[in-house]
Amino acid sequence: MLEFNVQTLAFLLFSLFVLGGAAGVVTTRNLIHATLYLILSLFGVAGLFVLMSAPFLAVVQVVVYIGAIAILIVFAVMLTRSMTRLRDLYNHQWAASAVVAVLLFVLLAVGVILPVWGVNGAQTPTEVSDVVADTVELGKALVDRNQYVLPFELASLLLTAAMIGAIVVARDDE
Protein backbone atom coordinates (compact mmCIF):
# COMPACT_ATOMS: atom_id res chain seq x y z
CA MET A 1 0.00 0.00 0.00
CA LEU A 2 2.45 2.62 1.17
CA GLU A 3 5.57 2.55 -0.87
CA PHE A 4 8.54 2.90 1.44
CA ASN A 5 11.07 5.42 0.23
CA VAL A 6 12.71 8.64 1.37
CA GLN A 7 9.56 10.65 0.67
CA THR A 8 7.43 8.38 2.83
CA LEU A 9 9.98 8.64 5.59
CA ALA A 10 9.99 12.43 5.33
CA PHE A 11 6.19 12.47 5.27
CA LEU A 12 6.03 10.37 8.44
CA LEU A 13 8.60 12.58 10.14
CA PHE A 14 6.79 15.80 9.26
CA SER A 15 3.42 14.30 10.24
CA LEU A 16 4.98 13.40 13.57
CA PHE A 17 6.12 17.03 13.94
CA VAL A 18 2.64 18.34 13.13
CA LEU A 19 0.63 15.94 15.29
CA GLY A 20 3.13 15.66 18.12
CA GLY A 21 3.55 19.42 18.23
CA ALA A 22 -0.20 19.96 18.25
CA ALA A 23 -0.64 17.40 21.05
CA GLY A 24 2.13 19.10 22.99
CA VAL A 25 0.47 22.50 22.65
CA VAL A 26 -2.70 21.35 24.40
CA THR A 27 -1.17 19.04 27.00
CA THR A 28 1.75 21.00 28.42
CA ARG A 29 1.16 23.28 31.40
CA ASN A 30 4.04 25.57 30.53
CA LEU A 31 2.95 28.30 28.14
CA ILE A 32 6.41 28.85 26.68
CA HIS A 33 6.74 25.14 25.96
CA ALA A 34 3.30 25.23 24.36
CA THR A 35 4.42 28.03 22.05
CA LEU A 36 7.55 26.13 21.07
CA TYR A 37 5.44 23.04 20.33
CA LEU A 38 3.25 25.26 18.15
CA ILE A 39 6.34 26.39 16.22
CA LEU A 40 7.35 22.73 15.76
CA SER A 41 3.88 21.92 14.46
CA LEU A 42 3.89 24.85 12.03
CA PHE A 43 7.35 23.82 10.86
CA GLY A 44 6.02 20.36 10.13
CA VAL A 45 3.29 21.87 7.97
CA ALA A 46 5.97 23.76 6.02
CA GLY A 47 7.76 20.45 5.49
CA LEU A 48 4.56 18.88 4.17
CA PHE A 49 4.23 21.75 1.70
CA VAL A 50 7.75 21.01 0.45
CA LEU A 51 6.80 17.35 -0.05
CA MET A 52 3.78 18.49 -2.08
CA SER A 53 6.10 20.45 -4.43
CA ALA A 54 4.86 23.80 -3.15
CA PRO A 55 8.08 25.48 -1.96
CA PHE A 56 6.55 28.95 -2.16
CA LEU A 57 3.80 28.02 0.28
CA ALA A 58 6.35 26.31 2.52
CA VAL A 59 8.52 29.40 2.73
CA VAL A 60 5.50 31.67 3.25
CA GLN A 61 4.39 29.34 6.02
CA VAL A 62 7.75 29.83 7.74
CA VAL A 63 7.85 33.60 7.16
CA VAL A 64 4.30 34.33 8.24
CA TYR A 65 3.51 31.71 10.86
CA ILE A 66 6.90 31.09 12.45
CA GLY A 67 8.62 34.37 11.67
CA ALA A 68 5.76 36.66 12.61
CA ILE A 69 2.79 35.09 14.33
CA ALA A 70 4.60 32.57 16.54
CA ILE A 71 7.06 35.21 17.68
CA LEU A 72 4.25 37.61 18.57
CA ILE A 73 2.64 34.79 20.55
CA VAL A 74 5.91 34.15 22.39
CA PHE A 75 6.13 37.86 23.13
CA ALA A 76 2.58 37.93 24.50
CA VAL A 77 3.18 34.80 26.56
CA MET A 78 6.39 36.20 28.06
CA LEU A 79 4.45 39.19 29.32
CA THR A 80 1.75 36.98 30.85
CA ARG A 81 1.74 36.64 34.62
CA SER A 82 2.60 33.21 36.03
CA MET A 83 3.24 31.64 32.66
CA THR A 84 4.71 28.45 34.06
CA ARG A 85 3.24 25.79 36.32
CA LEU A 86 -0.36 26.76 35.77
CA ARG A 87 -2.46 24.82 38.24
CA ASP A 88 -6.03 25.94 37.74
CA LEU A 89 -8.08 26.44 34.68
CA TYR A 90 -8.71 30.12 34.31
CA ASN A 91 -11.67 29.51 32.10
CA HIS A 92 -14.64 27.35 33.08
CA GLN A 93 -16.23 27.05 29.69
CA TRP A 94 -14.88 23.61 28.86
CA ALA A 95 -18.38 22.23 28.24
CA ALA A 96 -19.14 24.83 25.59
CA SER A 97 -15.77 24.36 23.93
CA ALA A 98 -16.25 20.58 23.90
CA VAL A 99 -19.52 21.03 21.97
CA VAL A 100 -17.80 23.36 19.50
CA ALA A 101 -14.92 20.92 19.06
CA VAL A 102 -17.28 17.98 18.38
CA LEU A 103 -19.30 20.04 15.90
CA LEU A 104 -16.15 21.15 14.10
CA PHE A 105 -14.95 17.56 13.92
CA VAL A 106 -18.29 16.40 12.46
CA LEU A 107 -18.19 19.19 9.89
CA LEU A 108 -14.67 18.25 8.87
CA ALA A 109 -15.64 14.58 8.68
CA VAL A 110 -18.62 15.32 6.47
CA GLY A 111 -16.81 17.85 4.33
CA VAL A 112 -13.42 16.23 3.89
CA ILE A 113 -13.37 12.58 4.83
CA LEU A 114 -16.71 11.38 3.36
CA PRO A 115 -16.11 12.65 -0.19
CA VAL A 116 -12.81 10.79 -0.29
CA TRP A 117 -13.50 7.55 1.57
CA GLY A 118 -17.31 7.54 1.79
CA VAL A 119 -19.87 5.34 0.03
CA ASN A 120 -19.57 7.01 -3.35
CA GLY A 121 -16.24 8.57 -2.63
CA ALA A 122 -13.37 8.62 -5.03
CA GLN A 123 -11.10 5.81 -3.93
CA THR A 124 -8.18 6.81 -6.09
CA PRO A 125 -6.45 10.11 -5.63
CA THR A 126 -7.23 12.44 -8.51
CA GLU A 127 -4.76 14.82 -10.02
CA VAL A 128 -5.90 18.36 -9.37
CA SER A 129 -3.74 19.72 -12.15
CA ASP A 130 -0.87 18.41 -14.18
CA VAL A 131 0.71 21.84 -14.47
CA VAL A 132 3.32 22.62 -11.85
CA ALA A 133 2.62 26.26 -11.10
CA ASP A 134 5.56 28.52 -10.33
CA THR A 135 5.69 31.81 -8.49
CA VAL A 136 5.13 33.85 -11.64
CA GLU A 137 1.83 32.10 -12.32
CA LEU A 138 0.81 32.52 -8.70
CA GLY A 139 1.51 36.24 -8.91
CA LYS A 140 -0.45 36.57 -12.13
CA ALA A 141 -3.38 34.59 -10.70
CA LEU A 142 -3.60 37.03 -7.79
CA VAL A 143 -4.14 40.02 -10.09
CA ASP A 144 -6.07 38.30 -12.87
CA ARG A 145 -9.64 39.56 -13.19
CA ASN A 146 -10.91 36.05 -13.89
CA GLN A 147 -9.13 34.44 -10.98
CA TYR A 148 -8.36 35.78 -7.51
CA VAL A 149 -8.18 39.55 -7.76
CA LEU A 150 -11.33 40.08 -5.67
CA PRO A 151 -10.28 37.92 -2.67
CA PHE A 152 -6.79 39.41 -2.92
CA GLU A 153 -8.07 42.99 -2.78
CA LEU A 154 -10.52 42.13 0.01
CA ALA A 155 -7.70 40.63 2.07
CA SER A 156 -5.57 43.73 1.48
CA LEU A 157 -8.48 45.94 2.56
CA LEU A 158 -8.99 43.85 5.68
CA LEU A 159 -5.32 44.06 6.61
CA THR A 160 -5.25 47.82 6.02
CA ALA A 161 -8.31 48.24 8.22
CA ALA A 162 -6.70 46.11 10.91
CA MET A 163 -3.53 48.20 10.74
CA ILE A 164 -5.43 51.48 11.02
CA GLY A 165 -7.42 50.01 13.88
CA ALA A 166 -4.23 49.01 15.69
CA ILE A 167 -2.83 52.51 15.31
CA VAL A 168 -6.05 54.05 16.63
CA VAL A 169 -6.07 51.70 19.63
CA ALA A 170 -2.40 52.31 20.44
CA ARG A 171 -2.62 56.09 20.02
CA ASP A 172 -2.67 58.37 23.05
CA ASP A 173 -5.69 60.60 23.47
CA GLU A 174 -4.51 64.10 22.84
Binding site: N30, I32, L36, I39, V59, V62, V63, I66, G67, M78
Partner: protein
Protein backbone atom coordinates in the same frame (compact mmCIF):
# COMPACT_ATOMS: atom_id res chain seq x y z
CA UNK B 1 37.24 16.61 -18.90
CA UNK B 2 35.38 13.29 -18.88
CA UNK B 3 38.29 11.47 -17.25
CA UNK B 4 38.63 13.80 -14.29
CA UNK B 5 36.41 13.01 -11.34
CA UNK B 6 35.28 16.12 -9.47
CA UNK B 7 32.30 17.09 -7.33
CA UNK B 8 30.36 18.07 -10.47
CA UNK B 9 30.38 14.66 -12.10
CA UNK B 10 30.95 12.55 -9.00
CA UNK B 11 27.69 10.67 -9.38
CA UNK B 12 28.48 9.63 -12.96
CA UNK B 13 32.03 8.68 -11.98
CA UNK B 14 30.87 6.49 -9.13
CA UNK B 15 28.23 4.78 -11.26
CA UNK B 16 30.78 4.12 -13.99
CA UNK B 17 33.03 2.72 -11.29
CA UNK B 18 30.36 0.11 -10.64
CA UNK B 19 28.44 1.60 -7.71
CA UNK B 20 24.71 1.38 -7.10
CA UNK B 21 23.18 4.56 -8.67
CA UNK B 22 21.05 5.33 -5.61
CA UNK B 23 24.04 5.05 -3.30
CA UNK B 24 26.23 7.10 -5.65
CA UNK B 25 23.63 9.86 -5.76
CA UNK B 26 23.33 9.81 -1.99
CA UNK B 27 27.08 10.05 -1.49
CA UNK B 28 27.52 12.98 -3.86
CA UNK B 29 24.62 14.88 -2.28
CA UNK B 30 25.99 14.17 1.20
CA UNK B 31 29.44 15.42 0.19
CA UNK B 32 27.90 18.58 -1.25
CA UNK B 33 25.92 19.25 1.93
CA UNK B 34 28.93 18.63 4.16
CA UNK B 35 31.14 20.89 2.03
CA UNK B 36 28.55 23.69 1.94
CA UNK B 37 27.95 23.54 5.69
CA UNK B 38 31.62 23.26 6.65
CA UNK B 39 32.87 26.14 4.53
CA UNK B 40 31.35 28.91 6.71
CA UNK B 41 32.41 27.10 9.90
CA UNK B 42 36.05 26.91 8.86
CA UNK B 43 36.02 30.41 7.40
CA UNK B 44 34.66 31.93 10.59
CA UNK B 45 37.69 30.80 12.63
CA UNK B 46 39.89 32.85 10.35
CA UNK B 47 37.42 35.75 10.19
CA UNK B 48 37.49 36.26 13.96
CA UNK B 49 41.22 36.88 13.62
CA UNK B 50 40.57 39.33 10.73
CA UNK B 51 37.97 41.15 12.78
CA UNK B 52 40.19 41.46 15.86
CA UNK B 53 43.14 42.63 13.78
CA UNK B 54 41.14 45.33 12.00
CA UNK B 55 39.44 46.52 15.19
CA UNK B 56 42.87 46.68 16.82
CA UNK B 57 44.34 48.73 13.96
CA UNK B 58 41.42 51.17 14.12
CA UNK B 59 42.01 51.59 17.86
CA UNK B 60 45.81 51.91 17.42
CA UNK B 61 46.63 48.51 18.94
CA UNK B 62 48.38 45.46 17.53
CA UNK B 63 45.69 42.85 18.05
CA UNK B 64 46.38 39.12 18.50
CA UNK B 65 50.08 38.46 17.78
CA UNK B 66 51.25 35.68 20.11
CA UNK B 67 49.80 32.35 18.92
CA UNK B 68 51.15 31.27 15.56
CA UNK B 69 52.46 33.55 12.81
CA UNK B 70 50.86 37.03 13.16
CA UNK B 71 48.56 35.55 15.80
CA UNK B 72 46.74 33.53 13.16
CA UNK B 73 46.08 30.60 15.49
CA UNK B 74 44.59 32.76 18.25
CA UNK B 75 41.00 31.78 17.34
CA UNK B 76 41.92 28.09 17.35
CA UNK B 77 43.40 28.49 20.81
CA UNK B 78 40.26 30.34 21.97
CA UNK B 79 38.01 27.60 20.63
CA UNK B 80 40.05 24.94 22.43
CA UNK B 81 39.92 26.99 25.61
CA UNK B 82 36.13 27.23 25.38
CA UNK B 83 35.96 23.44 25.10
CA UNK B 84 37.76 23.03 28.42
CA UNK B 85 35.52 25.47 30.31
CA UNK B 86 32.95 24.25 32.79
CA UNK B 87 29.51 23.83 31.28
CA UNK B 88 27.17 25.60 33.68
CA UNK B 89 23.39 25.35 33.59
CA UNK B 90 21.68 27.82 35.93
CA UNK B 91 19.51 26.22 38.61
CA UNK B 92 16.31 27.96 37.56
CA UNK B 93 16.86 27.45 33.86
CA UNK B 94 14.48 25.59 31.61
CA UNK B 95 17.01 22.87 30.78
CA UNK B 96 15.75 21.46 27.50
CA UNK B 97 15.13 24.83 25.88
CA UNK B 98 18.32 26.22 27.38
CA UNK B 99 20.34 23.55 25.60
CA UNK B 100 18.31 23.82 22.41
CA UNK B 101 18.95 27.54 21.84
CA UNK B 102 22.64 27.34 20.75
CA UNK B 103 21.74 24.62 18.26
CA UNK B 104 18.94 26.71 16.74
CA UNK B 105 21.32 29.67 16.60
CA UNK B 106 23.88 27.68 14.68
CA UNK B 107 21.52 25.84 12.37
CA UNK B 108 19.60 28.94 11.32
CA UNK B 109 22.81 30.46 9.94
CA UNK B 110 24.17 27.35 8.24
CA UNK B 111 20.80 26.87 6.51
CA UNK B 112 21.29 30.20 4.71
CA UNK B 113 24.30 28.79 2.87
CA UNK B 114 22.13 26.26 1.04
CA UNK B 115 21.09 28.86 -1.54
CA UNK B 116 24.35 30.81 -1.98
CA UNK B 117 25.61 30.47 -5.58
CA UNK B 118 29.41 30.16 -5.46
CA UNK B 119 30.08 29.75 -9.18
CA UNK B 120 27.90 29.24 -12.28
CA UNK B 121 28.00 25.51 -11.47
CA UNK B 122 28.33 25.28 -7.71
CA UNK B 123 25.20 26.08 -5.77
CA UNK B 124 23.70 24.06 -2.94
CA UNK B 125 20.06 24.30 -4.02
CA UNK B 126 19.01 26.62 -6.82
CA UNK B 127 15.60 27.37 -5.29
CA UNK B 128 13.21 29.38 -7.44
CA UNK B 129 12.27 31.27 -4.28
CA UNK B 130 15.81 31.82 -2.98
CA UNK B 131 15.30 35.42 -1.87
CA UNK B 132 12.18 34.50 0.07
CA UNK B 133 14.00 31.52 1.60
CA UNK B 134 16.64 33.94 2.86
CA UNK B 135 13.93 35.94 4.65
CA UNK B 136 12.28 32.83 6.07
CA UNK B 137 15.47 31.37 7.53
CA UNK B 138 16.49 34.79 8.80
CA UNK B 139 13.28 35.01 10.80
CA UNK B 140 14.16 31.78 12.62
CA UNK B 141 17.15 33.63 14.08
CA UNK B 142 14.71 35.66 16.19
CA UNK B 143 13.50 32.50 17.92
CA UNK B 144 16.98 31.55 19.12
CA UNK B 145 17.44 34.83 20.96
CA UNK B 146 13.99 34.67 22.51
CA UNK B 147 14.44 31.08 23.61
CA UNK B 148 17.91 31.71 25.01
CA UNK B 149 16.81 34.87 26.80
CA UNK B 150 13.79 33.31 28.41
CA UNK B 151 15.19 29.94 29.39
CA UNK B 152 18.21 31.44 31.17
CA UNK B 153 15.89 32.78 33.88
CA UNK B 154 17.86 36.00 34.13
CA UNK B 155 16.41 39.47 33.90
CA UNK B 156 19.22 40.89 31.79
CA UNK B 157 18.90 37.99 29.36
CA UNK B 158 15.14 38.56 29.13
CA UNK B 159 15.60 42.31 28.59
CA UNK B 160 18.01 41.48 25.78
CA UNK B 161 15.41 39.15 24.27
CA UNK B 162 12.70 41.84 24.43
CA UNK B 163 14.95 44.31 22.65
CA UNK B 164 15.71 41.70 20.04
CA UNK B 165 12.11 41.17 19.06
CA UNK B 166 11.54 44.86 18.63
CA UNK B 167 14.73 45.30 16.63
CA UNK B 168 14.63 42.22 14.43
CA UNK B 169 10.93 42.42 13.60
CA UNK B 170 11.19 46.12 12.75
CA UNK B 171 14.22 45.86 10.53
CA UNK B 172 12.73 42.99 8.56
CA UNK B 173 10.37 45.51 6.93
CA UNK B 174 13.00 47.66 5.15
CA UNK B 175 15.01 44.50 4.46
CA UNK B 176 12.16 42.94 2.49
CA UNK B 177 11.30 46.19 0.76
CA UNK B 178 14.94 46.60 -0.34
CA UNK B 179 15.19 42.98 -1.42
CA UNK B 180 12.15 43.37 -3.70
CA UNK B 181 14.00 45.93 -5.86
CA UNK B 182 16.66 43.58 -7.36
CA UNK B 183 14.03 40.85 -7.60
CA UNK B 184 11.86 43.26 -9.58
CA UNK B 185 14.72 44.27 -11.91
CA UNK B 186 15.78 40.68 -12.60
CA UNK B 187 12.27 39.24 -12.59
CA UNK B 188 13.30 36.24 -10.50
CA UNK B 189 13.77 35.28 -6.86
CA UNK B 190 16.41 32.61 -7.44
CA UNK B 191 19.81 33.83 -6.23
CA UNK B 192 21.59 32.05 -9.08
CA UNK B 193 19.29 33.73 -11.64
CA UNK B 194 19.87 37.07 -9.90
CA UNK B 195 23.61 36.59 -10.41
CA UNK B 196 23.11 35.73 -14.07
CA UNK B 197 20.99 38.88 -14.45
CA UNK B 198 23.97 40.95 -13.23
CA UNK B 199 26.42 39.74 -15.89
CA UNK B 200 26.05 43.01 -17.80
CA UNK B 201 25.65 45.41 -14.89
CA UNK B 202 25.67 45.01 -11.12
CA UNK B 203 22.47 45.92 -9.33
CA UNK B 204 24.34 48.23 -6.98
CA UNK B 205 24.55 50.70 -9.91
CA UNK B 206 20.90 50.25 -10.85
CA UNK B 207 19.60 50.43 -7.27
CA UNK B 208 22.18 52.05 -4.97
CA UNK B 209 19.53 53.16 -2.47
CA UNK B 210 18.12 49.64 -2.18
CA UNK B 211 21.66 48.26 -1.74
CA UNK B 212 22.38 50.67 1.10
CA UNK B 213 19.06 50.00 2.85
CA UNK B 214 19.62 46.25 2.43
CA UNK B 215 23.04 46.54 4.03
CA UNK B 216 21.86 48.72 6.94
CA UNK B 217 18.84 46.55 7.68
CA UNK B 218 21.04 43.47 7.56
CA UNK B 219 23.47 45.05 10.02
CA UNK B 220 20.54 45.44 12.39
CA UNK B 221 19.38 41.87 11.78
CA UNK B 222 22.83 40.59 12.67
CA UNK B 223 23.03 42.86 15.70
CA UNK B 224 26.33 44.42 14.74
CA UNK B 225 27.44 47.85 15.91
CA UNK B 226 25.94 50.43 15.72
CA UNK B 227 22.91 48.18 16.24
CA UNK B 228 24.36 45.85 18.91
CA UNK B 229 21.64 46.58 21.45
CA UNK B 230 20.97 42.89 22.00
CA UNK B 231 24.23 42.57 23.86
CA UNK B 232 24.96 46.09 25.00
CA UNK B 233 27.70 45.38 27.55
CA UNK B 234 27.27 48.66 29.36
CA UNK B 235 23.51 48.34 29.81
CA UNK B 236 22.44 44.71 30.02
CA UNK B 237 25.91 43.15 30.40
CA UNK B 238 25.73 40.61 27.57
CA UNK B 239 22.12 40.30 26.57
CA UNK B 240 20.48 37.02 25.83
CA UNK B 241 23.57 34.80 26.16
CA UNK B 242 24.69 36.07 29.57
CA UNK B 243 24.20 32.74 31.36
CA UNK B 244 25.84 30.56 28.75
CA UNK B 245 29.34 29.26 29.36
CA UNK B 246 31.81 27.00 27.66
CA UNK B 247 31.15 25.84 24.17
CA UNK B 248 27.47 26.80 24.21
CA UNK B 249 28.61 30.39 24.46
CA UNK B 250 31.14 29.59 21.75
CA UNK B 251 28.32 28.43 19.51
CA UNK B 252 26.43 31.69 20.00
CA UNK B 253 29.56 33.66 19.23
CA UNK B 254 30.43 31.61 16.17
CA UNK B 255 26.82 31.93 14.97
CA UNK B 256 27.01 35.71 15.31
CA UNK B 257 30.29 35.97 13.39
CA UNK B 258 29.00 33.56 10.78
CA UNK B 259 25.77 35.54 10.39
CA UNK B 260 27.75 38.73 9.83
CA UNK B 261 29.88 37.00 7.22
CA UNK B 262 26.82 35.42 5.59
CA UNK B 263 25.03 38.70 5.06
CA UNK B 264 28.20 40.07 3.42
CA UNK B 265 28.18 37.12 1.02
CA UNK B 266 24.50 37.70 0.28
CA UNK B 267 25.03 41.41 -0.26
CA UNK B 268 27.79 40.53 -2.72
CA UNK B 269 25.52 38.00 -4.46
CA UNK B 270 22.43 40.17 -4.67
CA UNK B 271 23.97 43.56 -5.43
CA UNK B 272 27.61 43.11 -6.48
CA UNK B 273 27.18 40.45 -9.13
CA UNK B 274 28.11 37.41 -7.04
CA UNK B 275 30.60 35.19 -8.84
CA UNK B 276 30.59 37.21 -12.05
CA UNK B 277 33.99 38.49 -13.15
CA UNK B 278 36.54 38.10 -15.94
CA UNK B 279 37.00 34.59 -17.41
CA UNK B 280 34.42 33.04 -15.08
CA UNK B 281 32.54 31.41 -17.97
CA UNK B 282 35.73 29.74 -19.24
CA UNK B 283 36.87 28.62 -15.78
CA UNK B 284 33.89 28.43 -13.37
CA UNK B 285 36.08 27.83 -10.29
CA UNK B 286 37.22 31.45 -10.59
CA UNK B 287 33.75 32.33 -9.28
CA UNK B 288 34.92 31.44 -5.77
CA UNK B 289 37.72 34.02 -6.08
CA UNK B 290 35.52 36.84 -7.37
CA UNK B 291 32.79 36.16 -4.84
CA UNK B 292 35.41 36.01 -2.09
CA UNK B 293 36.94 39.34 -3.14
CA UNK B 294 33.57 41.11 -3.26
CA UNK B 295 32.58 39.64 0.09
CA UNK B 296 35.89 40.78 1.58
CA UNK B 297 35.24 44.36 0.46
CA UNK B 298 31.78 44.39 2.09
CA UNK B 299 33.08 42.60 5.20
CA UNK B 300 35.98 44.96 5.80
CA UNK B 301 33.65 47.93 5.33
CA UNK B 302 31.39 46.42 7.98
CA UNK B 303 34.30 45.85 10.37
CA UNK B 304 35.53 49.42 10.07
CA UNK B 305 31.96 50.60 10.65
CA UNK B 306 31.77 48.43 13.74
CA UNK B 307 35.01 49.78 15.14
CA UNK B 308 34.18 53.44 14.54
CA UNK B 309 30.45 54.05 15.06
CA UNK B 310 28.99 54.29 18.58
CA UNK B 311 25.91 52.34 19.62
CA UNK B 312 22.48 53.90 19.09
CA UNK B 313 19.82 54.12 21.79
CA UNK B 314 16.71 51.96 21.56
CA UNK B 315 14.41 54.92 20.79
CA UNK B 316 16.84 56.18 18.13
CA UNK B 317 16.94 52.69 16.68
CA UNK B 318 13.16 52.52 16.37
CA UNK B 319 12.77 56.09 15.10
CA UNK B 320 15.51 55.54 12.51
CA UNK B 321 13.73 52.46 11.23
CA UNK B 322 10.09 53.52 11.19
CA UNK B 323 10.48 57.23 10.41
CA UNK B 324 13.44 57.01 8.03
CA UNK B 325 14.26 53.62 6.52
CA UNK B 326 10.73 52.32 5.97
CA UNK B 327 9.37 55.45 4.22
CA UNK B 328 12.47 55.66 2.02
CA UNK B 329 12.27 52.00 1.08
CA UNK B 330 8.60 52.32 0.14
CA UNK B 331 9.25 55.42 -1.99
CA UNK B 332 12.32 53.78 -3.53
CA UNK B 333 10.27 50.70 -4.39
CA UNK B 334 7.55 52.76 -6.07
CA UNK B 335 10.04 54.92 -7.98
CA UNK B 336 11.99 51.89 -9.20
CA UNK B 337 8.79 50.10 -10.26
CA UNK B 338 7.64 53.16 -12.20
CA UNK B 339 11.03 53.66 -13.85
CA UNK B 340 11.27 50.00 -14.79
CA UNK B 341 7.89 50.31 -16.46
CA UNK B 342 9.05 53.43 -18.31
CA UNK B 343 12.31 51.76 -19.34
CA UNK B 344 10.46 48.76 -20.72
CA UNK B 345 7.85 50.90 -22.46
CA UNK B 346 10.56 53.00 -24.16
CA UNK B 347 12.53 49.88 -25.14
CA UNK B 348 15.70 50.88 -23.28
CA UNK B 349 16.26 47.34 -22.00
CA UNK B 350 19.02 45.30 -23.67
CA UNK B 351 17.98 43.53 -26.85
CA UNK B 352 17.48 39.74 -26.55
CA UNK B 353 20.88 38.08 -26.50
CA UNK B 354 22.57 41.29 -25.38
CA UNK B 355 21.77 40.97 -21.65
CA UNK B 356 25.40 40.23 -20.74
CA UNK B 357 26.68 43.24 -22.68
CA UNK B 358 27.85 46.14 -20.54
CA UNK B 359 27.05 48.83 -23.12
CA UNK B 360 23.58 47.44 -23.86
CA UNK B 361 22.75 47.73 -20.16
CA UNK B 362 23.85 51.36 -19.88
CA UNK B 363 20.57 53.13 -20.90
CA UNK B 364 18.37 51.46 -18.29
CA UNK B 365 21.10 51.73 -15.66
CA UNK B 366 21.39 55.49 -16.24
CA UNK B 367 17.61 55.94 -15.94
CA UNK B 368 17.40 53.90 -12.74
CA UNK B 369 20.48 55.58 -11.26
CA UNK B 370 19.08 59.05 -11.92
CA UNK B 371 15.82 57.94 -10.29
CA UNK B 372 17.77 56.88 -7.21
CA UNK B 373 19.63 60.20 -7.19
CA UNK B 374 16.29 62.04 -7.20
CA UNK B 375 15.10 59.97 -4.23
CA UNK B 376 18.32 60.73 -2.33
CA UNK B 377 18.10 64.43 -3.23
CA UNK B 378 14.51 64.75 -1.98
CA UNK B 379 15.35 62.91 1.24
CA UNK B 380 18.44 65.03 1.92
CA UNK B 381 16.45 68.24 1.33
CA UNK B 382 13.73 67.08 3.71
CA UNK B 383 16.27 66.20 6.39
CA UNK B 384 17.95 69.58 5.99
CA UNK B 385 14.66 71.42 6.37
CA UNK B 386 13.73 69.32 9.38
CA UNK B 387 17.12 69.96 11.00
CA UNK B 388 16.75 73.69 10.36
CA UNK B 389 13.33 73.73 12.04
CA UNK B 390 14.79 71.82 14.99
CA UNK B 391 17.65 74.31 15.26
CA UNK B 392 15.33 77.32 15.09
CA UNK B 393 13.08 75.75 17.73
CA UNK B 394 16.12 75.12 19.90
CA UNK B 395 17.26 78.72 19.59
CA UNK B 396 13.78 80.05 20.36
CA UNK B 397 13.62 77.81 23.41
CA UNK B 398 17.00 78.91 24.77
CA UNK B 399 16.02 82.57 24.22
CA UNK B 400 12.83 81.96 26.19
CA UNK B 401 14.89 80.27 28.89
CA UNK B 402 17.18 83.27 29.17
CA UNK B 403 14.14 85.57 29.44
CA UNK B 404 12.67 83.46 32.24
CA UNK B 405 16.00 83.43 34.05
CA UNK B 406 16.20 87.24 33.86
CA UNK B 407 12.77 87.67 35.41
CA UNK B 408 13.08 85.08 38.16
CA UNK B 409 16.48 83.39 38.53
CA UNK B 410 15.11 80.85 41.01
CA UNK B 411 12.55 79.28 38.69
CA UNK B 412 14.37 77.83 35.76
CA UNK B 413 11.78 75.73 33.97
CA UNK B 414 11.54 74.72 30.39
CA UNK B 415 8.72 76.34 28.45
CA UNK B 416 5.58 74.32 27.96
CA UNK B 417 5.61 71.90 25.10
CA UNK B 418 9.01 70.45 25.84
Amino acid sequence: MADVCSINNLTRCLIEGGMNPGLANFISILLGVVATATLPLVTVIFLIWVERKIAARVQDRLGPNRVGPWGLLQSVADALKLLTKEDITPLGADKFIYNLAPIIAFASIVLLWAVVPFTPLHVGANLAIGALYFMAVGSIATIKVMVAGWSSNNKYALLGAFRTIAQLLSYEVPLVLALIVPVMIAGTMSLQELTFAQQGMWFVFMAPVAALIFFIANLAEVGRAPFDLLEAESEIIAGYNIEYSGFKFGMFMAAEFMHAFTICVLTAVIFLGGWSGPFVHELPVLGFVWLGLKTAVVYIFMLVLRATVPRVRIDQLMAFNWKFLVPISIVNLLVTAFLLYVVRALGLTPAPGQEYNFVANLPQTIVLFVGNLVVVGVVVTMIRNWARRQRLGEEARSLALVAVEDENPAAITLPAGH
